[in-house]
Symmetry: C2
Subunit: 664 residues, 2 copies
């Protein structure tokens, strides 16, 4: 508060000084009144939810408009195949190339979904400039990164207004923002929060959980209100409402099929992740592609998108893979509770009205091709299209495509089963028809869960469709797919990106190379920074302040004994120097640093035998900004987050062996 008032009174060149200070005073009074009821924190969280929902809504609208424009052009060119082809391919090429060029010129880090970077930041390591506001405008795709930037801004605002401790306030807002981002991207407040919990960390504070839910609920409500006011009920929030029969949703024996489907999705997920890792590695190592990617990002994007678009051209191969459906239509058609196989048999019986109303499934059996062929072709083609799309240096989310791919796997299984049992399964007099939609839902959850190594897609499937009858089999399929995907320390989708991008994220590094778990602090600890002596005078302190940029200095008894006493902050030392300089009598300047400055006692110490993993966990859990390492009471070094980042990068680059040898 003082900070702000100070600004307004001390800059006479700013206009309307009096009016501005009046307004500011009023605002401050309102703030103090409101703040006495609920904490400032909750207002910030609410604002975060609302802002994210607003951005999400605007983006949804514009994406829908852009898509509609493309469809309009395409349908008006009916008859002119070449023009149709050009409009189908060049439209996305130009959009994607522009987006790449723009996002790259404003901020080069913004490619990808942003999740790997955000979780690195949440684990404690700082990535410079990654969350700045200018970045926000460069980011027109994935939501998680976007909302974290809003969150970071609000966190800074909260610190500047409330004057709280920066460390926790900032981190809290980031955690909530990540959750809100996922939640509003899915349009599902509860599973969104859980997904972010699973992806973001290895440990989770239950206190944070409340904040995340609050912010996500604010976002979801705003979204709902906006869609009511704009008279567009059909937005992300609109559920993929299914209407499976609830008296006998599945036969007991079908659980086995669900389990097998889970294993199948897990296996396909493993193969997908393997290809994904390979292609990421390939784009890094292949000289030509890495050169193009480094210098001509827009060109590369244009080429790949052109390839993708021409493959999906509806008048050619796209015809056999339902390419005319948008992502949302694809998902709704796949989750259809009716059997396509029997529908296609009875298509002539349906009235034209019924056909017009529910024609989505017909995209899957055009020109007399069987739905099995179309689904199979879709699966084969989409696989490499998805893998290829991951190399695009473009801000984009990869969760929903995986969800839809899984739904197609499940659909194919379900339709196959429906073909084998055309009259359903008999159980004690009752007939239980096969519901391929249930398999599609289970497949979607299982595949996306396997790819991201999370379980919350099972809940997302439940929340999106409101189909709680299938909760248990969906959960089972997701668990089995996860078990297969996580076995033998396979990294997840986000882990692979972290590793290839060399982000300093310790958990994903350890998952990929479990032998690093046993690396001890003694093997990686560098010399450490400046250490002060308790009896040090003005000269020593001055030297330490000028030669080092540390925020905190460890204090030892004497330089010979190296017995750790505590730490002293930079500001304390500066005050000490100021006093000594102001002092005329020379009393202070003769004094020892330890008598004047407050030496903060140590709460936790690690030793050289502590593993890097343990140290990382202690630092992120407590949370402390530095961890002192002692051996037999003598200081051997200290870890800050900056040091930790270097250590993780060294570990990733395989420098431990060298360090090992030095110490031996």
């Amino acid at each position: 508060m003082e900070h702000e008032l100070h600004l307004s009174s001390n800059h006479p060149w700013k206009p309307w000084q009096h009016a501005r200070s009046n307004v500011k005073e009023c605002l401050l009074r309102v703030q103090s009144v409101v703040g006495s009821v609920v904490g400032l924190e909750w207002f910030c969280l609410c604002a975060l939810g609302i802002l994210t929902a607003l951005v999400s809504f605007v983006m949804d609208l514009s994406v829908a408009k852009l898509q509609r424009a493309q469809r309009w052009v395409y349908s008006h060119l009916e008859g002119y195949k070449l023009l149709q082809f050009l409009s189908w391919t060049l439209y996305p090429v130009s959009l994607c190339a522009t987006s790449t060029a723009f996002s790259h010129s404003v901020c080069p880090y913004s490619a990808g979904s942003g999740l790997p970077e955000v979780r690195t930041i949440l684990s404690g390591v700082e990535l410079p400039d990654y969350l700045s506001l200018t970045h926000l405008f460069a980011k027109l795709g994935p939501f998680v990164h976007l909302s974290t930037m809003v969150g970071a801004y609000l966190g800074r605002l909260r610190v500047s207004i409330g004057g709280q401790k920066e460390v926790t306030a900032h981190r809290e807002m980031l955690v909530a923002a990540a959750a809100v981002g996922v939640a509003s991207c899915f349009g599902a407040p509860i599973s969104g929060v859980l997904f972010s919990v699973e992806v973001m960390g290895t440990h989770f504070v239950v206190r944070d959980y409340c904040r995340c839910f609050f912010s996500a609920a604010c976002g979801a409500l705003t979204f709902r209100l906006l869609s009511v006011w704009s008279r567009e009920q059909e937005t992300v929030q609109a559920l993929f409402k299914t209407s499976f029969s609830s008296d006998l949703p599945y036969h007991a024996a079908e659980i086995l099929v669900f389990a097998l489907l889970g294993l199948l999705c897990g296996a396909v997920g493993c193969f997908y992740l393997f290809c994904h890792r390979r292609i990421l590695q390939f784009t890094k190592t292949n000289r030509l592609i890495s050169k193009v990617l480094a210098t001509e990002k827009a060109l590369y994007t244009g080429m790949v998108v052109f390839l993708l678009a021409s493959v999906t051209f509806p008048n050619c191969a796209g015809h056999f893979m339902a390419a005319e459906l948008s992502m949302k239509q694809l998902l709704s058609s796949l989750l259809d509770g009716r059997q396509w196989w029997s529908l296609s048999q009875n298509a002539s019986v349906l009235s034209p009205q019924e056909l017009a109303h529910e024609s989505l499934w017909q995209e899957w059996s055009t020109l007399g091709t069987s739905v099995y062929l179309t689904l199979g072709f879709f699966l084969v083609m989409k696989f490499w299209l998805l893998v290829l799309a991951c190399t695009l240096p473009l801000p984009a989310g990869y969760f929903m495509p995986a969800f839809i791919y899984g739904a197609a796997i499940g659909r194919l299984t379900g339709e196959g089963l429906a073909f084998m049992f055309p009259n359903g399964i008999q159980s004690e007099g009752k007939i239980c028809p096969i519901n391929p939609g249930g398999y599609a839902l289970a497949g979607a959850a299982a595949f996306s869960g396997a790819v991201t190594h999370t379980l919350s897609p099972a809940l997302l499937a439940l929340e999106l469709t409101g189909q709680s009858t299938h909760a248990a089999p969906i959960l089972l399929a997701t668990l089995l797919a996860n078990a297969l995907a996580r076995s033998r320390h396979r990294p997840s989708f986000y882990d692979a990106i972290s590793i290839v991008k060399k982000l300093p994220h310790l958990p994903s590094l350890l998952r990929a190379r479990p032998e690093l778990c046993s690396v001890r602090l003694g093997q990686v600890l560098s010399d450490g920074g400046k250490v002060l002596e308790r009896g040090g005078g003005v000269t020593e302190v001055h030297l330490a302040l000028t030669t080092s940029s540390q925020v905190e200095f460890p204090v030892v008894d004497t330089h010979e004994s190296q017995v750790l006493l505590g730490s002293v902050s930079r500001s304390e030392l500066q005050t000490f120097l100021h006093r000594a300089a102001d002092d005329q009598t020379g009393q202070v300047s003769d004094k020892q640093m330890g008598d004047v400055c407050f030496i903060q006692p140590i709460t936790v110490q690690a030793s050289v035998h502590t593993t890097v993993r343990q140290a990382h966990r202690i630092m992120s859990m407590l949370p402390t900004q530095h961890l002192f390492v002692t051996e037999k009471g003598r200081l051997s070094g200290f870890m800050t987050w900056k040091e930790m980042k270097t250590v993780i990068e060294d570990l990733a680059n395989g420098k431990t062996e060298q360090i090992d040898r030095q110490h031996d």
Copy 2:
């Protein structure tokens, strides 16, 4: 494995030695084959889920049978008011009194829901005998405790078979068991796991989360299969299926009403918790009641249950509070999507068939009383009935009654709104009728969330009904109710029980008395146990082993310097002594302990300035069994979980002031 083989070969008095060892060998071979595919851990988790589901199923069946028997007797005595009264009251009295007497005689700790005790154990403190198997049979009520006992048994089994590290294996099984217990008690695998996560701890490990879901899914599937096989579809698993309209589930302005309902539920929840704390305190301090409770538990139970039963007697006051409905019927009737008010207006129009089929709501407007009066009377009476029921020294769960009470609050609000807007709310041409069922659902989630300080009831409401249209308003109401209930450090339902029962659970103690957060280890640390010198000989080691029962001994450089070097385990010391005794040449006995024994290096140290809260967190997070406390490299003491328990108990009894004074 060795352990078991050893057992079978060295006890010649056991019968069928050869056959048994053959079977065992076969089993071990199967185990090693199966274990190479998936870990033994997962089999144990699966077994845990299945066993819990089995127990749950059997219990559900017997409870249903017992209830049906009571209804049958009651309906056959139609016309004999006195006999009806006696059958209505004496039946539960005898059941509850028997249950109390039985559970008390087998194990005196088994009263209550068991959640507070289980979370104390999960926080690291051991409660002796709480999880023994004999206890299992004494427990015929709440599920959480029951499944934890199964979990503890399986954990021990796993340790004895697999020979893994006991600490983690045992704890992991307990965490999963607690989650499975809640999940199978609710019949909702996903929200059950989340509820247990929220109640159990302040931090949770994402790794545990997978295990919990796996076990819960196994349990849910078994339950489902059992209910299919027994041809009883109607069990806990059966959902309270609702059919709210999904095109316009609620008007945008209704969100405000949902928010107000959340605040109302929060306020009622606070009052309920206040009364609950008061009555628990009263039963402890009132001399007569505490005496009766200490000696004649069955008598007390009988008296209270008689009082409760006579109040709800359907021919008297019970008539006006729908007492004839079972818990499940109550909930289904409250969640009804139709407006009771308009139904009661049009009751004559409905066909008799319709009335017979859907007559549950009619219990709420018998004899011409308005539904508002019945609901209001229900709320007033149930309030003190619930509070009184909490004092029963009986194993019982308290979550579902709270859920139903909240549903009634919501229903009353919804019906009131329906009365005010009999034709629904108009919005731009469309008419949006008021749905009181949605308010009942939101009220149930908000009230039970406020009472337990959790958010997962919101998800439970979603999972039980499959009503995802109302997700956002339900979440909002639950959040607001929680915010009110948690403000000013009010303890939750389980916290209050922990505090009154004096369980050594630090988080609930700190929530009730936040001033204890700043207590430092230096203020509470006792003298600590035996400390060994690095150069100590056989005599010193022998003395230490005989005078102390510590598992781990700290090793210092010399007794004068007290510089901490590490720790040595009891078994190491015993080996040292054995070797010295066996040694004929006297070489070993002259040796120093530090040369022979392996001194385990220290990984983490706390200092006397570390707060108790931080120490607790470090010990439960890492997880370590002991934490060394040093000051300037010199050992000042060490904390084990046993010490921690004493410290928490001292804090709870207000002994810190005395300790404080000693140190000053």
